[in-house]
Symmetry: C2
Subunit: 323 residues, 2 copies
Amino acid sequence: MDERYIIQKYFAPLAKNDESLNLKDDVSQIDITSHRNLITNQDSLVMGTHFFPDDNPECIAKKAIRVNVSDIISKGVIPYGYFLSFGINSNINENWVRSFTNGLIQDQKYYNLKLLGGDTIFSPNVVFISINMISLSNDKIISRSTAMIDDDIYVTGTIGDSAIGLHILKEKITKIKLSDLNRNTLINRYYLPEPNIKYSELIHRFATSAMDTTDGLLNDLKNLSIRSRKDFSINLDRIPYSDATREFLIQFDDYDIANFGGDDYQCIFSAKKADRKLISDFALEQNIQVTKIGGVLQESINPIVSDQNNNLIGSSNFTFKHF
Amino acid sequence: MDERYIIQKYFAPLAKNDESLNLKDDVSQIDITSHRNLITNQDSLVMGTHFFPDDNPECIAKKAIRVNVSDIISKGVIPYGYFLSFGINSNINENWVRSFTNGLIQDQKYYNLKLLGGDTIFSPNVVFISINMISLSNDKIISRSTAMIDDDIYVTGTIGDSAIGLHILKEKITKIKLSDLNRNTLINRYYLPEPNIKYSELIHRFATSAMDTTDGLLNDLKNLSIRSRKDFSINLDRIPYSDATREFLIQFDDYDIANFGGDDYQCIFSAKKADRKLISDFALEQNIQVTKIGGVLQESINPIVSDQNNNLIGSSNFTFKHF
């Protein structure tokens, strides 16, 4: 397998569109006359940091796409397509590439994406996947810095599944009893985040500020509060957990693993109190889970996030660090 | 040094523009209302394949930018800005990052580029740099597939310097005598290609088809002939060499090292015969080297490139393969 072989056999069929020039040139060309804004996100996955040699290549491909999709939809816009830099080493055989490509194909369909271009290079010691994902929109993104005093704060989906899944994989926990179903649910959520394209519309319509959750819910909320220069109050009892995470937490007895654990790829956002009813109606209508977990307090030069008892929310050893 | 430290201290100062949101969000937002086309190129450099641990980080940064600039200008458009994925391992210290950043700063000025976004990640065993470079234009790109029968074929700059520079570095040649000046010129050209932004205007005005030369001039000409589905005739005696390369070739006695060697980052293009005078006037006026090296012959299903004696131009062991 050389570069051309991989591109022609595996990637060109994913890029059958005029804009990629069918990968027959080194550049791509996209007609942007009918759009006002180009929104871009670039995120990479590296073997040994974000995935491991034995992981399922189909999942790796999807995760590489989804960490980027998550950023785009958390800004209230829709992903359009992506550029892929694929660094492979000699341990990667054709079956791996085939499976990886299948993951890309499935998620291109699922998220309605085009492969627009990229490059494939030999990387002696490590495999990496760097994706640049674009959105073309007439709308502007929802910023992190525009939460307003008295807004509500919401989170989508459930929190902690992925961090607990990774913990189960790494620690080989035996003390905690989980049903096979719940155990698999948690591990699968670590391997494969599930950013929901419907969140984009939710955020576009209602959010005054927004971001996705990757570094642990409470860390990300701190980040949002700092960017918006406002104190936040979060009711920790309202944080939404899946049944699987709940079964784990009841036994594990330290909720920090969920609240600070990271890799959730959900959205947090602030919204006007006046929109409460509209938001819950929208969630019901779209069949998505959206939970009000707190509110925006006063302006602050050194913003803090506190809990329902006015205790400062600090940091946790469960915060997942890639470095 | 963690991710945030590097981004805030080194990359944020390079991205002081509204579009990058000062790297304070995960996405970038670019107003594209006044442009018709988004042209994009994504090329990566990997330690062990494209550069080595002892190479000058400033040069690595510039090379990462320039391999992308080269692709963009060879299409007749101008680069606007770039997204950087930076994978670093624990062997990379702060001096390395500082020097790397200096290279980026210098080339941002030289090519009038903005850093628009990206990510910094820990990569256990290898350093990589993946750049997505964009151009915003009201013009369309010059394709590889549109060379016309009877067109002239041109190349910019000189050929072979980089390949010979690499050969000197790797083989530690003693038989061939070169002046220190020429030896350094060749080695420097390997470390640092010099795509000239003026080529963009040349190609935009005159080229009927175009691409940059990365895989060896004669290989790239074959590629252009195949994409355009036309036979080419190339006069090998016309291929332009620098004084340094000429001094080397006279002794080395195998011109394939220059003609097939690769990493030139020059432009090849076809143009109408009627434009000969205009092209040479433009070259003179802009102080750039443009050399007519051949012509486009008839349509062909299996296009070939032949030399001035009608001999088929084959392949060469000097063709540089990254895989």
